[in-house]
């Protein structure tokens, strides 16, 4: 009987008493909140938003720095559909949705806000939609492992041990890129990283090479030994492994044989004017300047002190990391653009003066080729070497002393290079490794790349950081070893170099030979005093440069390690800037 329905009249209403303050479910997708300190403004939320509801806007109080664009998402609630794809893809997990859902307003223009910045009353709500866990990712979290020779196989030779990606691997790795562009801003050369990664996905290597050469004429070299500041800030790396941008760059360059370069980059024939430019040093900065100046139609002459071009890339970096044929590939291409190079030409002050009159402009990039000494007692012994000299000698094929035990002082990449080179040489000679590297900085503070340290240890070298060298003990004219004391701190409160030692905590490293690798210095003896006076000095004793790397003497440009570094990519960026600067300078002069 339908009348049974009336039995409901004795039951209480099921209505929600206070619907205006009802809490939504813990997983409810309500209004946005953003942890602005975590957020890096990568813009993946903007990219995935199908409604174009998200804008990236600058926000007061948040500064742009490496790895943080300084932008924050601004959401238009006139567009949003609360699908939370922006939350699910957020690289930093900073974006979330709270379970607040009521927003009533009379002015439609109010429905835009920057979550986490604009005052809203729902930020304190804990509940709401977050990225589901576990195993819920919109892009690969793990880096495609690069195949490397195992430590046993590589330890006794100088062949390149990083094998490079196969096509599948490269595409898989390239697929992880979210194309945010944080890396572009951080890279000194502002390479179009997402763009060339895209060409890998599309398997269009020619396009990729073009993009590489737009900003970087040394892709083979950079693809191997770049200090990859881009990877440090990679947004994918915040909750997972960063993209291996360096290996992907190398992949592109590796795929294209050098014969095709001219054709792909359309440089079979290039315009040459009548301007002449001298470049001192054929390191990355010099080569880069030469490349871009050639493209701009200038006649370039490089003066190189050593036998071969490449500078520190060739003479500073061991072959197992950067094979010489790959350097040749890049260098030869640049030289083939009509760049004249004079090897074994040491430019002194007299010659430098001549350059001034012979050439329209001069670019100096002579690098840091003078090693710094610790100046501790015993450091003037003949078996105490500078790492930079040793590395140069190894490259030049000269015989060097390979003792049974060696101690290296220094914690930078160069120290690791010499450590690993010495380890290899020891392995070849003695079949075992007795190399020890020590540094002032503790394990965490060591400036060397982490992988360098790990690989060095794999190869048998001992890395024992956190010790300050005190004295090299010399017995009977022979080195016995190195006395060290424990370092308490390297930098003081103002982040200035000011090491403090714990004198009671001592250690002694046995050694037949000590290598100092605590930094390098430029050798600018070719600059005459007269000129020096004209040059304005900036802070920390460096020459003041404008944004085109032009010194206060307008025909003189500088770049590379003598300006900032030591770093390949900075050198390349300097070269690029200087090339544009020189071009502008000459163009104005002509007028």
């Amino acid at each position: 009987m339908p009348f049974t329905a009336w039995s409901k009249i004795v039951k209480d209403p099921v209505t929600i008493k206070d619907p205006l303050n009802r809490e939504a479910a813990p997983r409810y997708r309500g209004f946005h909140d953003n942890d602005v300190d975590e957020c890096i403004g990568c813009g993946t939320c903007e990219a995935i938003c199908e409604n174009e509801a998200i804008d990236l806007v600058p926000v007061d109080g948040i500064e742009t720095k490496d790895g943080d664009s300084g932008l924050r998402p601004k959401i238009d609630y006139g567009r949003c559909c609360w699908c939370a794809l922006c939350v699910d893809i957020c690289t930093t997990n900073s974006l979330r949705l709270t379970n607040e859902y009521t927003w009533v307003d009379t002015d439609p223009d109010n429905f835009r806000f920057v979550p986490g910045v604009d005052e809203k009353d729902w930020y304190e709500k804990e509940d709401g939609w977050r990225k589901p866990v576990p195993n819920y990712h919109f892009y690969g979290q793990e880096r495609v492992e690069m195949e490397e020779l195992p430590a046993e196989a590589r330890g006794d030779s100088f062949i390149e041990f990083v094998k490079g990606y196969s096509k599948d691997q490269a595409q898989q790795e390239a697929d992880r890129c979210v194309e945010c562009g944080i890396c572009i801003g951080t890279c000194p050369a502002h390479m179009g990283i997402p763009e060339y990664i895209k060409t890998i996905r599309n398997d269009d290597m020619e396009e990729g090479l073009k993009i590489l050469y737009d900003t970087n004429p040394l892709p083979e070299i950079c693809g191997r030994i770049c200090t990859h500041k881009c990877e440090d800030v990679c947004s994918v790396g915040i909750n997972g492994d960063p993209l291996s941008i360096r290996w992907l760059k190398r992949y592109i360059a590796d795929q294209v044989p050098s014969e095709q370069y001219h054709e792909i980059l359309d440089t079979q024939k290039i315009f040459k004017g009548d301007t002449k430019i001298a470049i001192l040093g054929s390191g990355p900065a010099g080569l880069s300047t030469a490349y871009y100046l050639s493209l701009l139609g200038h006649n370039v002459t490089i003066f190189e002190k050593l036998e071969k071009a490449g500078g520190m890339m060739r003479y500073g970096i061991p072959e197992y990391r950067l094979p010489y044929d790959q350097i040749d590939k890049d260098v030869d291409y640049i030289l083939s653009l009509g760049v004249e190079i004079k090897y074994n030409t040491d430019v002194d002050a007299k010659m430098f003066k001549k350059l001034e009159s012979d050439f329209d402009a001069v670019f100096i990039s002579t690098g840091l080729h003078a090693g710094r000494s610790t100046r501790i007692p015993g450091s003037d012994h003949k078996h105490v070497f500078q790492s930079i000299d040793l590395l140069r000698q190894i490259t030049a094929g000269e015989e060097i002393m390979v003792p049974e035990k060696v101690v290296i002082i220094g914690g930078g990449n160069v120290a690791m290079d010499i450590t690993r080179s010495m380890a290899r040489l020891q392995k070849i000679k003695y079949g075992k490794v007795q190399t020890l590297a020590t540094s002032l900085e503790s394990e965490e503070e060591m400036p060397a790349d982490r992988e360098e340290v790990v690989e060095a240890r794999e190869e048998g070298a001992i890395i024992d950081p956190g010790w300050g060298p005190k004295e090299i003990e010399i017995v009977d004219g022979k080195i016995k070893g190195l006395h060290v004391v424990k370092v308490l701190s390297v930098f003081d409160e103002d982040h200035r170099f000011n090491p403090k030692f714990d004198e009671d905590n001592k250690k002694f490293f046995d050694a037949d030979m000590v290598v100092e690798s605590i930094g390098q210095a430029p050798d600018l003896s070719y600059i005459s005093d007269e000129l020096k006076e004209k040059l304005e000095l900036g802070p920390r004793g460096r020459y003041l440069l404008n944004e085109y790397n032009q010194t206060s003497v307008e025909w003189l440009f500088a770049g590379g390690d003598i300006v900032v570094g030591p770093d390949v990519i900075h050198g390349i960026a300097d070269g690029h800037k200087a090339a544009v600067g020189i071009d502008n300078f000459l163009h104005n002069k002509k007028k």
Partner: protein
């Protein structure tokens, strides 16, 4: 012409003539007929559509369905969106039971990209759960809603209340009330929250009580019988002719149910038999839906009992921002509360689909079938007939 290619002659006597007009050709200036519009602003119309009726007194002599009031051009919009962006758009193609769209677009992309085997087990069960919950909430509106068309508002009040409880469970599981956006290419977007099964069971008990009450209120009600019996009868012969699917077909004894015919997900692991009735009128269709209500409650219980306790919810897929699917095309169907619901999906190798075409059951039910069923009906029955066919305008015009 045909003989040349075939060597056979199609039986043309079965067919209407090629120049047949749809609908009657009436002389409106004869003053015998009046034209009235039902909708779009009319409480009796489901959603936002209109029926242009030509009436002779109280009897409909011609009906034309007008749609497009909800047209948003989804199919065009999805062509502009990445594969992963398709699902928030697609679910809005039908507001009454949106999860079906999520499933379809996810499955189409999975099939064409070859990831359909990679969908984790847990995700499949959760997909099934959300689909059945969607069916349940649809039926909780639909079954008493048929009474509502005859002004039996009480059942609607109870039904919508219970539907709201199911929406609360949806909210817990998926994070949203109506547009759940839960099924995503590769899997789903969340595990069952703690205590979900217990709360669901509570609601299902309420629904059990409701099922008995609604039976007394509607199916034992003489006035309801008087009005619903014999009205808008569908015969089995009409089923293929009009492309009738789902409960409308089962109401006249044609047992078609995609869940049984081509089991997707894990429907082959569940124990159920789609209900049928033989009359084919509104009463029979409502009766079938009422039985389906019982069955859906049972299916949800089965799913919750059989599903694994935990597992992965999403397959490892390529980066969604530049996921490209090679050229191909597919058609995926499922059984929605209204019947066969399908999606034709064409990809061309780029990161966006080439063409997405939705086949909603209302497309045939609410135009060709409704227009024919309305002829000869009373004006007062138009709304009831429309609802009994489970018309859902947004899936017609998309």
């Amino acid at each position: 012409m045909i003989n040349k290619f075939l060597g056979f002659e199609p039986d043309k006597s079965k067919l209407p003539s090629a120049t047949a007009k749809i609908g009657a050709d009436l002389d409106l200036s004869s003053h015998k007929y009046q034209k009235i519009w039902l909708g779009p602003n009319h409480p009796g119309v489901t959603g936002n559509m209109a029926i242009e009726l030509t009436v002779e007194g109280n009897t409909v002599v011609n009906a034309k369905t007008h749609v497009g009031y909800l047209h948003r051009g989804f199919e065009k919009l999805i062509e502009r969106r990445l594969y992963v962006q398709g699902f928030p758009t697609s679910i809005r193609m039908c507001v009454a039971e949106p999860d079906t769209n999520e499933y379809l677009i996810a499955t189409c992309t999975e099939q064409l990209s070859g990831y359909d085997k990679a969908v984790p087990e847990m995700a499949k069960w959760l997909r099934m759960l959300s689909l059945e919950m969607a069916r349940l909430q649809g039926l909780l509106r639909g079954v008493p809603g048929q009474g509502g068309t005859f002004a039996l508002g009480l059942g609607v009040q109870w039904g919508v209340y219970l539907r709201d409880l199911i929406l609360d469970r949806f909210e817990e599981l998926t994070g949203a009330r109506v547009y759940h956006m839960y099924i995503i290419p590769g899997g789903v977007r969340g595990l069952l929250p703690d205590g979900f099964k217990e709360r669901m069971e509570d609601n299902l008990m309420d629904i059990d009580d409701f099922i008995i009450r609604i039976r007394k209120l509607m199916f034992h009600n003489s006035v309801f019988k008087t009005r619903a019996k014999g009205l808008a009868r569908i015969t089995p012969e009409m089923v293929d002719k009009y492309g009738i699917v789902g409960t409308n077909a089962r109401g006249c004894g044609v047992k078609r149910d995609v869940r049984k015919d081509e089991p997707y997900l894990h429907y082959d692991k569940l124990d159920f038999d789609p209900p049928t009735d033989s009359d084919g009128d509104i009463y029979a269709r409502t009766w079938v839906r009422w039985q389906e209500l019982i069955q859906t409650v049972d299916l949800i219980r089965q799913i919750m009992a059989k599903m694994p306790a935990k597992g992965d919810i999403k397959a490892q897929m390529p980066n969604v921002l530049h996921w490209q699917i090679p050229k191909g095309e597919t058609y995926v169907r499922l059984e929605s509360g209204r019947g066969e619901y399908g999606m034709y999906y064409v990809t061309d190798g780029t990161d966006k689909p080439r063409r997405v075409n939705l086949r909603g059951p209302s497309y045939t039910h609410a135009i060709a079938l409704l227009e024919d069923l309305l002829v000869g009906a009373d004006v007062a029955d138009v709304h009831a007939i429309m609802v009994s066919l489970q018309t859902c305008p947004p899936e017609i015009e998309r």
